[in-house]
Symmetry: C2
Subunit: 331 residues, 2 copies
């Protein structure tokens, strides 16, 4: 058994561990989007999850399974995104410290979210090397356990609980599309869903500007992108080593979508479904619409993975409502 | 029995009639908002309702109860807002024409929504007199039945079904706050909820710039606003005659909130709950936060009444994401 062998048993165990601490997020449908797609779509709303993304599943599982001696020394990660908030919350649940290394350029709103959840932030220069050095120093000083955002079996097991719920809510799903960045969510979902139903199709949806997973699958080895760029800022990471092995074995296909399609899908989810998703969270719908001709005949599940974004910055032109302070007169 | 006597039996009957044609919308909670409020809030998500607002409840009830002779001649209304789309959908369900008089200044997106639902639009000048004349001419020409957006017992009975569901989903609610414009939704909810639990408190939330209901209650007669203005564009109508009588008898209090508080509440719902609500739909939360000191000790329900708005116009300053078309290289 190699170290990348994630099993259904581990995912079921993770679900038992985290279920009382997270939302069972709803599955929503939209007749308007179904008409456009030409079939039936089921949306798993992880944007409505605690802390606003699925990341809380994996972080909570990884933190709760630590033995008490290790846990007492706290946990640690470097992240400017959803994993940071998820880890801070998971640590707070257990009453242990969460040390979060963030680049000093991280949006103030994300820093504030981590702080509100009790995370202890260490700012560093916005380079990979500075992050890793800051994390290593902190680990030495505190003895905290590093919880990787995706390339960690217990994190992946937690993320896989999305699929356990999804298949309980819609038992006859025939395909699931999930965004892929580092690959933790996609791996967990693939193992869970294929174990329960080997016939189900699992598709990864990847931004064309950060398509390392698609290229890695084609090459048979991990091929990083030099300069990944996409509006889907949660999906820029290179696929993890353990994740890649699982994706190779359990995922049927990676679909690349360009940023225009991602923005279009995101706007449709806002406008039609009245759900706020972040760009990364809309990549699954973009992929579903791209493959509509093939997928429309089968019952397709789409994971809306997160909803955290800066409402002062949107990927379309917006004008202020031309509204003035009221001065009404009543007769 | 006066003509304004809406009863629980009528609302239960409406629910039986419409329930298979609408969503039972979810009730959501937010631990972050609960902390700010200092108590427990329950949100009834009518922004996730079919056509994006509660209006589909009343319109569907009014259309489905017509006898077949009347129904065959179609239905008619003048509205530029959510009632127009709701009536178009209700008519389409029954396969009858819906004639919608809209001001020629109505947003293209709202015209498109009505058309997509099969409504037949007649454009008119954007004055009350032009609307009423156009509607009268159409009624003469077609024999269609006028379905008023709020001052109609069957419409109010349909809107009251929101409360039947809400109290089934959260049986021990102690207060419900609902936005008030024409008063149809508030009346229906008040009659339903007070009939089921006379101790429940029912509060109307009204924009300060269109506070005709609050002033009418104070005056003991309907006092219209000359020039109602608010970002909550769905709540500018003057309270209806029948609605006013019901509000007088069954609503405990009307709370005025200014537009800054409405925008603040709307943004919180977007950012924290990941739900898209229109400004009118956020007025209930603005009122709850204004009365937090009094309401925090009791289990308070807030109706998020709708989610239809133009995403190109937001009531805060937004800059484009500084993102450029990607040109990544993979090694």
């Amino acid at each position: 058994m190699e170290d990348s062998d994630l099993t259904l048993a581990m995912i079921v165990d993770a679900h038992r561990r985290v279920r009382d601490h997270i939302h069972q997020t709803p599955v929503m449908t939209s007749s308007v989007l179904d008409r456009e797609f030409g079939g039936r779509l089921y949306f798993k709303c992880e944007n409505l999850q605690k802390t606003g993304s699925f990341k809380v599943r994996g972080a909570t599982n990884a933190v709760l399974r630590l033995d008490s001696g290790k846990a007492a020394r706290g946990v640690l990660t470097h992240s400017s995104g959803n994993h940071a908030a998820a880890l801070a919350r998971a640590a707070a649940l257990r009453g242990i410290p969460a040390h979060i290394v963030m680049p000093r350029t991280a949006p103030v709103s994300k820093q504030a979210a981590v702080q509100r959840l009790g995370g202890r932030i260490t700012l560093c220069e916005p380079t990979q090397m500075a992050r890793e050095m800051a994390a290593a120093l902190l680990q030495e000083a505190t003895g905290a356990t590093m919880i990787h955002p995706y390339d960690d079996l217990h994190v992946m097991a937690g993320q896989g609980t999305t699929a356990l719920e999804f298949l309980e809510q819609v038992p006859d799903l025939e395909a699931i599309i999930c965004p892929v960045g580092g690959g933790g969510h996609l791996s967990g979902i693939a193992v869970a869903a294929k174990s329960l139903n080997p016939a189900i199709r699992i598709l990864g949806a990847e931004p064309a500007g950060a398509a390392d997973t698609a290229r890695s699958i084609a090459a048979g080895r991990i091929v990083a992108c030099d300069n990944p760029r996409s509006i889907a800022d949660g999906l820029l990471a290179t696929v993890g080593r353990q994740c890649f092995s699982l994706v190779q074995r359990h995922v049927d296909e990676i679909i690349e979508v360009d940023d225009a399609a991602i923005v279009d899908a995101m706007r449709k989810i806002w406008q039609i479904m009245k759900l706020l998703v972040e760009p990364s969270g809309a990549v699954g719908l973009a992929a579903a619409l791209k493959l509509a001709a093939r997928l429309a005949p089968i019952r397709t599940g789409v994971v809306l993975s997160g909803g955290n974004m800066d409402l002062d910055r949107l990927p379309w032109q917006v004008s202020m409502n031309p509204w003035r302070s009221p001065d009404p007169k009543c007769r």
